[in-house]
């Protein structure tokens, strides 16, 4: 009881401080019946387990959220993943989304950019501008963010193996806008382990890849302290077929490997850990998903405190982005996807996400059109402003069901993590393809359940209808590919080639010497060396990973 009193008082102090800094969105939150919504609902009979397992929001172990007032103070960031075709076209889509009330940007790059090939590389054939925007040089990046203030907006970039290059370009564009690196906000995905395990856009083998990541940690700690240096991602692991437990276990095992690598490279834990972010999937089982996010927070907090002896609360607060599950979208009866997305997004909000991407209904068929992208954004705006889910902190806390699920997920995920630890950690587990095999097994299991009808997919294996013709789909203008290649050719003819050669040479030497590669990469992008050229130098020295 004493524990509870003092913990409660601490929380109230924090709330007061928080409100002074940032008032809540409204003076009072009321239901339709005029009931005042309390900030937080707590059990009336307290045992010590409450403090240990759930605690107050903004308090260790953060099960109920990382901020004392959560969405009453500030809603999650609405961040729709977007990008296709040319930098011009994506710049237009970015501005459209911002005009429609989106609060952060999320850039999708095409596969050649993600795998370090320029648009004119033979390997890029057919892929330029397809799943995201094509970025070859700083010139494209300047166009991508033209007329968008990098001082105001935060940008998430889905880029992994070449993360250092795109981060360098982003800081260079910011500087040209007069925004110094210490002011930029955003995230690079930079999570290579899940690329080997589930997503496939790796370039280099694990050892040099881990070094690039710790170089970025170290650079950002010095130069860009508001930028998230990594987004440790369960999303793609889940999309590849993993269960909720596997998503938790593999993501946190990967997180452990990154923290270990950084600590081993000499960085003090509290100096880089506050800049680590996470990215989870919002999938189908509503309550298990909400519980999953709560379990993830508790697991991360305990791991950072107990294993890495973090002291800064920020090092223990798991901040995460959620995207709802693309793999649950169906090509059949696409309208149904809007309902799936609503439920998945609501679970993420009830689980306390910091930012959210809601999928568009047509994404099992192609990239979203402007109209379907807008409906997707509206879906989360409705949850935020109409559902009342954001009016009190951790609405599901204390539910027998959700708390039991939270405990169970944690327990099972820890068991998995122990097995990975015994194998020598996440890097080893990926190299031995253990993680890949586990995911594949789960994926095949799901397929069999769906084909046998044990698992119902509405509109696919039950409740089918004769299909109407497919709705209007987005078409990426193919003529831009030739223009992109022409722009690149022009760039190569007009830039200062000597400066480029010299910067690439410095980069080569730095790769060999073991010093931080971020600095020479930054110099190289500023003289318009291309993504392909910079990654090419590193390919030469580091070699390539063969999946």
């Amino acid at each position: 009881m004493e524990d509870f009193r003092s913990a409660y008082e601490t929380w109230q102090k924090k709330v007061k401080a928080q409100i002074e800094k940032r008032p809540e969105r409204r003076d009072s939150f009321q239901s339709t019946s005029g009931f005042e919504m309390e900030r937080l609902y707590v059990p009336d009979r307290i045992d010590s387990a409450y403090i240990a397992k759930q605690g107050f929001p903004g308090d260790f172990p953060y099960t109920r959220g990382i901020r004392p007032t959560m969405y009453r103070g500030r809603l999650w960031t609405m961040r729709q993943y977007a990008g296709f075709g040319s930098a011009e076209e994506t710049n237009r889509r970015f501005k459209y989304l911002l005009d429609e009330g989106q609060t952060g940007l999320s850039a999708a790059f095409d596969l050649p950019t993600q795998i370090g090939y320029d648009s004119d590389d033979a390997m890029a054939e057919g892929e330029v501008g397809k799943v995201g925007v094509a970025i070859d040089s700083l010139e494209d990046m300047e166009i991508l963010f033209d007329d968008i203030s990098l001082h105001e907006v935060s940008t998430s970039m889905t880029i992994n193996a070449p993360a250092a290059v795109l981060l360098a370009m982003y800081t260079a564009v910011a500087e040209k806008q007069g925004v110094p690196p210490e002011k930029i906000r955003g995230t690079i995905q930079n999570d290579i382990l899940k690329e080997y395990a589930a997503r496939g856009t790796y370039i280099y083998p694990p050892a040099p890849s881990m070094r690039l990541i710790t170089d970025i940690f170290s650079y950002c700690r010095q130069e860009a302290p508001k930028f998230n240096t990594i987004s440790i991602s369960g999303y793609h692991i889940r999309e590849a077929g993993a269960t909720a437990v596997q998503e938790l276990a593999f993501t946190l095992s990967n997180a452990k490997a990154y923290v270990k690598a950084a600590v081993e490279s000499g960085l003090p834990v509290d100096e880089f850990a506050p800049q680590l972010a996470f990215f989870f999937n919002g999938h189908n089982h509503f309550f298990e998903e909400a519980a999953k996010f709560r379990a993830a927070r508790r697991m991360w907090a305990s791991m950072m405190k107990d294993e890495f002896h973090a002291e800064d609360p920020k090092s223990m607060q798991l901040r995460f982005h959620t995207q709802v599950a693309g793999s649950t979208l169906t090509a059949q009866q696409p309208e149904n996807n809007i309902i799936r997305v609503s439920l998945q997004a609501l679970a993420a909000v009830l689980g306390g996400t910091q930012s959210l991407h809601t999928n568009a209904k047509d994404e099992a068929l192609s990239l979203p059109t402007e109209t379907s992208a807008r409906t997707a954004l509206r879906t989360q705006q409705i949850i935020a402003h109409e559902s009342g889910a954001a009016d009190t902190v951790d609405p599901l806390g204390g539910s027998y069901y959700v708390e039991a699920l939270t405990d169970k997920l944690e327990e099972e995920a820890l068991r998995y993590m122990d097995r990975i630890e015994e194998m020598g950690g996440a890097v080893r587990a990926v190299e031995e393809r253990y993680v890949q095999r586990e995911i594949q097994r789960a994926a095949y299991d799901t397929q069999k359940k769906q084909e046998s009808g044990q698992e119902i997919v509405v509109g696919v294996n039950q409740f089918r209808t004769e299909e109407e013709p497919q709705p209007d789909l987005l078409k990426v203008d193919e003529t831009f590919v030739a223009e992109q290649k022409a722009r690149l050719k022009r760039l190569r003819e007009t830039r200062d080639q000597k400066a480029v050669d010299s910067c690439l040479e410095t980069l080569r030497e730095t790769c060999l010497s073991g010093a931080n590669v971020m600095y020479p990469i930054k110099e190289a992008v500023k003289v318009y060396a291309t993504v392909g050229e910079i990654c090419g130098v590193m390919r030469d020295i580091f070699g390539e990973y063969n999946g």
């Binding site: 596969l111 099992a364 696919v460």
Partner: protein, 278 residues
């Protein structure tokens, strides 16, 4: 019997391999030998692997939208390697209009999300077996025309074109009378209902007289029906039945073809009795 060998390949830079891996496992469970190429394969590499491994079928997977470039490149590389006899199938996030294009350049079939793996396995079995139940139909054997009165319509063809009905018979299983007019390579079948409960009577009521169906001649109708069903095509007749003139027939559901009723017929296979269903 020799095991069917399949190459599952990921052309281009796409890293989404959940579908490819699930298909590979399902085909293995269906008794096939499966070689999976791994990610980032060039069309030339894929063809080389297919030839070296002596596969019966190549399955391509792409979810990045690059299929319109990469699948044709594989077809081209097969031609160059003199290996166009290896059939190619594909899967992924591929819109309908692209499917039409890809199938027109020789891709045997594109499977889209939601396809049961059993349907894919059944289709590969057909492709690899080269069996009669997947070969294109031999010809259009006849065109069915629903009429109120055979005599009235027959007199039109006789007056206008000097075509005469070679054969008239009653087909009790369908509650119709049918007259067959020989037009050289194709018959016109005039169908008149003998009873209000005949499907043709319903057709006449709903749409009026006119074109009713086309009939493809095939061999081994029974197997053909099984294969179509396994591939998810809806059949009206799930077993062959008597279609007149001693032939056995089966109708497909018109929703599969976009509104055209298709009859499959096998010459001389009917022994006069409706066959028992399996």
């Amino acid at each position: 019997m020799k095991r069917i060998r399949v190459l599952i390949a990921k052309p281009g830079l796409d890293g989404h391999d959940r579908g490819a891996l699930v298909i590979a496992q399902a085909l293995r469970d269906a008794g096939m030998e499966v070689i999976y190429t791994g990610l980032r394969q060039s069309p030339e590499k894929i063809v080389r692997a297919a030839v070296q491994e002596d596969v019966d079928v190549i399955g391509l997977s792409s979810l990045s939208g690059a299929h319109n470039t990469l699948f044709p490149a594989v077809m081209e590389a097969l031609k160059k390697a003199d290996a166009s006899d290896i059939p190619v199938i594909g899967g992924g996030v591929i819109p309908q209009e692209d499917i039409i294009h890809l199938e027109s350049i020789g891709v045997a079939r594109i499977f889209t999300p939601g396809t049961p793996t059993k349907a894919v396995a059944a289709y590969i079995q057909q492709l690899a077996g080269g069996s009669s139940d997947s070969a294109p139909p031999k010809r259009i054997e006849h065109i069915g025309i629903a009429v109120h009165s055979i005599e009235e319509t027959a007199s039109f063809y006789a007056a206008a074109f000097q075509l005469s009905a070679a054969h008239v018979e009653e087909i009790p299983s369908q509650k119709v009378r049918a007259a067959f007019i020989d037009c050289g390579s194709v018959y016109l079948e005039l169908i008149e209902p003998t009873d209000d409960s005949s499907p043709v009577a319903a057709f006449l009521k709903k749409r009026g007289p006119g074109l009713h169906h086309i009939a493809f001649e095939v061999s081994d109708l029974k197997k053909r029906i099984t294969a179509l069903k396994e591939n998810g095509f809806p059949m009206i007749d799930e077993a062959p039945r008597s279609g007149g003139r001693g032939h056995s027939i089966a109708f497909m559901h018109p929703k599969a073809s976009g509104g055209t009723l298709i009859e499959l017929m096998e010459e001389g296979a009917d022994d006069g009795h409706v066959r028992e269903t399996e």
